[in-house]
């Protein structure tokens, strides 16, 4: 497929034109944090910070989504009916996160209409990471700073421009219609590829994770969990920052004969997550709940999806108020079994 070059001075025009067909989401600064939000007319994204605090999965899977409205006139389903959504500036880990979460919402048997209403016909233009952070570890879990899974177009920042590589038919079609870009020459592609190689080289060498799933299964009752999870606060900072977490709760809120049914993010870290009607809680201790998070991402999802349920974005590492570090967890468990 043809690759293109977008001069940074033309970024505004590019996004304007994209906004004709799509609702364009990109990272924007909000106070001290960056978060994905719909670009307003003429607004430029904030692309300096490598990763947003909240993952862009909330574009397709909002934290609170009204799925039904009910009242005296009956019940109405409330899918998104806006323009198809284009995401500009998601990182490769974020884009891979979309794929992992989608496996839960869309499969042979079940297609979640609320997810699909936002995701269908959409476009993901991922911006690769020329300078991965020290807390990034995408290369440990089968990803990389210029990984292509989940993106329609991969963008590489080469200084004064972005090199845009379409990866899917949707990406190819979208770029073919853009006015503000030009075809690349070999020099451009070489520059991009050099950046890709340098970025991957700059990341710490990953530990071998081939046996992680089997080691984890054998370590389920190991006493190391008690020490490792002792400082966990049991909040949802990690799960709500995670691009691959998908658990949700459904609540009805009504007043005077009318109301809404909402789907909201839930977290396995809260005791209520597993509390049963009888009052019994199979995961009574915070240890069992935090263990669940790691087992789910590195063992159970590996079993059901064929790859780890973690994209190595590092958000949980920086979000955790007590500095529980998933990378330490991976090192400890691979060490433990190497004994």
């Amino acid at each position: 497929m043809d690759t293109y070059k977008l001069n940074k001075t033309k970024l505004g025009d590019f996004l304007e034109q994209l906004a004709e067909k799509f609702a364009v989401y990109a990272p924007l600064e909000k106070g001290d944090i960056t978060a994905f939000a719909e670009l307003e007319h003429g607004q430029l994204p904030a692309l300096d910070f490598l990763r947003t605090q909240k993952p862009p999965k909330d574009i397709f899977y909002p934290q609170t989504e009204v799925i039904l409205r009910f009242g005296k006139d009956g019940t109405k389903s409330n899918e998104y009916t806006g323009k198809p959504i284009a995401v500009f500036g998601a990182r490769p880990c974020d884009a891979k996160g979309f794929v992992i979460v989608e496996r839960v919402f869309v499969d042979d048997k079940y297609k979640d209409n609320y997810w699909l209403a936002r995701r269908d016909g959409g476009l993901v233009i991922a911006l690769g990471c020329s300078e991965p952070l020290k807390s990034c570890f995408c290369n440990w879990v089968g990803g990389g700073p210029f990984e292509t899974t989940g993106s329609d177009v991969l963008a590489t920042d080469v200084g004064d421009a972005f090199i845009l590589q379409p990866l899917t038919e949707a990406g190819k079609k979208a770029l073919a219609e853009m006015n503000s870009i030009e075809k690349t020459v070999d020099k451009d592609i070489e520059k991009a590829e050099a950046i890709h190689a340098e970025a991957l080289k700059s990341m710490p060498k990953p530990p071998t994770l081939d046996s992680l799933k089997t080691s984890l299964d054998s370590l389920f009752d190991d006493p190391f969990w008690d020490e490792f999870t002792a400082k966990c606060l049991g909040c949802a900072a990690c799960t709500f920052s995670c691009p691959t977490c998908y658990c949700f709760d459904i609540q009805d809120e009504s007043r005077r004969g009318e109301g809404v049914r909402i789907r909201i993010w839930d977290t396995c870290q809260f005791p209520l997550f597993t509390k049963e009607g009888s009052g019994h809680n199979p995961r009574k201790s915070q240890m069992s709940r935090l263990r669940q998070r790691f087992m789910h991402k590195f063992s159970y999802m590996f079993e059901t999806q064929g790859e780890f349920g973690c994209v190595g974005c590092g958000r949980c590492v920086t979000a955790c108020p007590v500095n529980i570090d998933v990378r330490e967890f991976i090192r400890k468990t691979t060490e433990n079994t190497e004994k």
């Binding site: 009204v66 809120e253 007043r255 009318e258 809404v260």
Partner: protein, 142 residues
């Protein structure tokens, strides 16, 4: 154009203020009908959450009324409540909520006239403030 009729919630302690309200009724004292009453055993029973929930629910004003200090049927319920309410009122005002939307009073069982005056005052003050908007739950309306 109909005049705005505020909706007011009043938490009245059973032993003093509720009895005072009853006396106002028996004495046929006229006062605005905008107030709904919830009877509680003591003003100390009123959790700030009740007040906030009323505001979330769209009530334009909330009144809590109890026994005069020293007269509490449970000895000290209203003393502890007094501290709680001071903190709540100060916080809501600091955050920018109209201070007159949440009010407190001491009305005894024999103060039927005072009860009607308290209700009239609260109703007119809240009427002037207009419909409550700041904490109202919208039901995720677009």
């Amino acid at each position: 154009m109909a005049e705005f009729e505020p909706k007011i919630m009043a938490f009245l302690c059973n032993w003093c203020s509720y009895a005072g309200a009853d006396l106002a009724g028996v004495s046929r004292i006229q006062y605005p009908p905008n107030t709904r009453v919830i009877r509680v055993p003591c003003s100390g029973r009123v959790d700030p959450m009740f007040i906030l929930k009323c505001l979330q629910d769209g009530y334009d004003g909330v009144l809590v009324s109890g026994c005069h200090p020293g007269d509490c049927h449970y000895i000290s319920g209203n003393y502890v409540a007094r501290r709680k309410f001071a903190v709540l009122k100060v916080l809501l005002e600091f955050m920018g909520l109209e201070p007159d939307r949440v009010q407190f009073s001491w009305v005894s069982a024999g103060e039927g006239e005072k009860f009607s005056q308290v209700i009239s005052r609260v109703t007119e003050t809240v009427r002037k403030l207009g419909p409550a908007r700041k904490l109202v739950k919208t039901g995720y309306r677009e």
